[in-house]
């Protein structure tokens, strides 16, 4: 019985580490910046798709190169999602700081766009996007060098938007007619795609009796630890980390101290998005990847940040582990043998002993917990709260 409990505990830690890795980016974006980013799950999904693309690029190289693709995928997933996060911050979030409801709606819209994007993206669509961005932003950059740009800005946007869209449409439809299916076929489509773990991540390590901890789970656990340590060192020891901590606590005063707050905001959001990409890369090793992959994680990740205490990294760690372990202990029915002497409780636990019902009970426990500790497990303390 003790062995089974111990095994469940290990499985819980493993689930907790996945939760934590997914929540880490949100702990930066929501916890530090206060931005409710509903597209966080879709950034994870894009990280997972980036892994799929890198895996396919490495396949023809064969072994031993294929075994190393995951490391390239981790870097690529971070860079792709960080870049997208940067664009998202500059294009959407920057204009909505201090307006949480609008931010929530706008990022939810972005999440739907990204889901549809991976379903529909093809060479033709990509070419259209590139041509549109090249013409529109190129022309805007050229015009912005003129001294009276502010006066003609509205006029320029009104003229350039339909013009760039028209050129992009003409270019992509010409290409589509010439090469047809080769360029109009979606890259990924609506179907889920599979990421194959490298050979050295298959199998597992025997811990207790028949219990085997898969290498993939150990890899994700190690990745989570590396990301947390990296984040801690970056935030606590680097110049940009200090700037981020200052701006997230007092934006206007930080600006008055000479800190370029807009650059700090952009970097923070890009960092949080990049971490979502790494999480996406990790979860792609656990199951198939689809346009809805991010939706499976978004609620859990928000729960981790809120239960831990907004703005507290250590809180997110504790909350992810607690939620992960509670989920597994309840879902795997590991607790009912312990309370077998009290049949009504044992029966109740048995009733919740599957993954969806376990989630219901865990959420109920979280709601109850937040009634008593609304600021989470690690709330701000002392004069710091009012300062």
């Amino acid at each position: 019985m003790l062995t089974s409990l111990f095994n469940s505990f290990f499985d819980g830690i493993s689930i907790g580490s996945v939760l934590l890795l997914s929540a880490l980016g949100l702990a930066v974006v929501f916890g530090l910046m206060g931005v409710i980013n509903m597209a966080h799950g879709e950034l994870m999904m894009l990280g997972a798709y980036t892994t799929f693309v890198v895996q396919n690029a490495f396949k023809p190289l064969g072994q031993p190169w294929f075994g190393a693709y995951i490391f390239v995928a981790l870097i690529a997933a971070f860079l792709v999602t960080a870049l997208l996060g940067l664009v998202l911050e500059k294009g959407v979030i920057r204009h909505l700081y201090g307006r949480p409801l609008e931010t929530l709606l706008a990022t939810w819209g972005v999440s739907l766009i990204l889901q549809q994007f991976v379903r529909s993206v093809s060479w033709v669509m990509m070419l259209g996007l590139v041509v549109f961005c090249g013409f529109f932003f190129g022309a805007m950059t050229l015009l912005s060098r003129r001294s009276h740009f502010q006066r003609i800005r509205g006029w320029a946007i009104t003229m350039l938007l339909p013009l760039s869209a028209g050129i992009a449409w003409a270019a992509s439809s010409t290409l589509g007619q010439k090469y047809q299916l080769a360029v109009t076929k979606p890259w990924f489509g609506a179907q889920n795609v599979d990421v194959t773990a490298p050979g050295w991540l298959r199998g597992g390590i025997r811990l207790l009796g028949a219990y085997q901890m898969p290498y993939v789970r150990l890899f994700i656990l190690s990745l989570t630890i590396i990301c947390i340590l990296g984040m801690y060192v970056f935030l606590q020891r680097s110049v940009w980390g200090l700037r981020i901590r200052a701006v997230t606590q007092n934006r206007s005063m930080s600006a008055c101290l000479g800190i370029p707050t807009q650059r700090v905001d952009a970097l923070t959001f890009a960092l949080g998005s990049g971490l979502a990409g790494i999480a996406g890369c990790a979860v792609s090793l656990l199951g198939s990847v689809g346009p809805n992959t991010g939706q499976n994680y978004i609620v859990d990740t928000f729960m981790v940040v809120v239960v831990g205490g907004v703005g507290k990294l250590v809180g997110s760690i504790a909350a992810a582990m607690a939620i992960g372990i509670a989920n597994y202990l309840i879902g795997a029915n590991a607790l009912s043998p312990l309370v077998a002497w009290f049949p009504p409780l044992a029966n109740l636990l048995e009733f919740f002993a599957n993954s969806s019902m376990a989630k219901v009970l865990v959420f109920a426990l979280i709601v109850t917990f937040l009634q008593f500790r609304p600021a989470g497990m690690f709330p701000q303390k002392g004069r710091t709260v009012d300062a």
């Binding site: 200090l242 901590r245 206007s252 000479g258 800190i259 707050t261 002392g382 710091t384 300062a387």
Partner: protein, 247 residues
């Protein structure tokens, strides 16, 4: 009372010059045709009852509020299109009302943040000049403590020290003695006086504490968003004090 157009401390080339400044909150006209100047190495005090627009004026100088009309220049350079961080790097140091110490950073980190305002950038410098500890010895023993855990007086000293770290040319102080115990007020007064003497920095001070006001070279009195009186503080009459200071 004087006409605002005649107001000017006797300095040929002011460090800070404000001309015909008008600021609105929505449609509410807050600052009305404000003219003000601060000479190099001078201490200028802005007095007036609560709600007359003193803090609004300071926030406009710092770039936190945008004026509808008017001109602000620092050594002849217009500040209109400059963001607050650019203005800080141009040499405007700010000690806000309520101190606004970054609570979750240590005293040392708060001080190091002050280096960001240096015109040449902070580079890799993390050194706190000895002069800061000479002015505020209490900070030396508290470097590892969280800024938010300090008392009001200690936070005020930290806020001034933090502003000094950027080697400002103009130090803007917004009610630095508000809510501070009398013995600390005297320490802060002495420190500000010493800062001007040793660094030659100009100071624009908003203050209600009469003793501190008298330390300044020049005063401007505000009422209903406009400057209504000014002159050397040595000529501050009892009538002006009673009318514009909450004493």
């Amino acid at each position: 009372m004087v006409d605002s157009t005649s107001i000017s401390p006797a300095t040929p080339q002011p460090l800070l010059d404000i001309a015909n400044l008008n600021v609105y909150y929505g449609e509410s006209h807050i600052l009305r045709s404000v003219d003000l100047s601060v000479g190099p190495g001078k201490m200028v005090c802005l007095i007036g009852r609560n709600g007359v627009g003193k803090t609004t004026l300071l926030k406009t100088i710092l770039g936190l509020l945008t004026p509808r009309t008017g001109m602000i220049t620092l050594e002849g350079t217009p500040l209109r299109r400059k963001t607050p961080d650019q203005r800080a790097r141009m040499g405007i140091g700010y000690v806000p009302q309520g101190r606004e110490i970054i609570p979750g950073l240590t005293v040392q980190e708060n001080l190091i943040l002050g280096l960001e305002a240096r015109p040449q950038g902070r580079g890799k410098s993390q050194t706190i000049p000895e002069q800061v500890f000479q002015l505020f010895p209490v900070l030396q023993s508290m470097l590892g403590r969280m800024g938010g855990d300090l008392s009001g007086g200690q936070q005020q000293q930290l806020a001034i020290a933090r502003a000094l770290m950027g080697s400002p040319r103009l130090l803007v102080l917004d009610e630095p003695t508000e809510g501070i115990q009398p013995s600390i007020i005297l320490e802060i007064e002495a420190a500000v006086r010493r800062i001007i003497e040793t660094t030659g920095v100009s100071v624009l001070l908003v203050e209600q504490h009469l003793h501190f006001v008298r330390q300044a070279d020049w005063y401007y009195a505000m009422q209903k968003g406009g400057i209504v009186a000014s002159g050397p503080t040595s000529e501050l009459s009892n009538q002006v004090i009673q009318e514009f200071l909450a004493v």
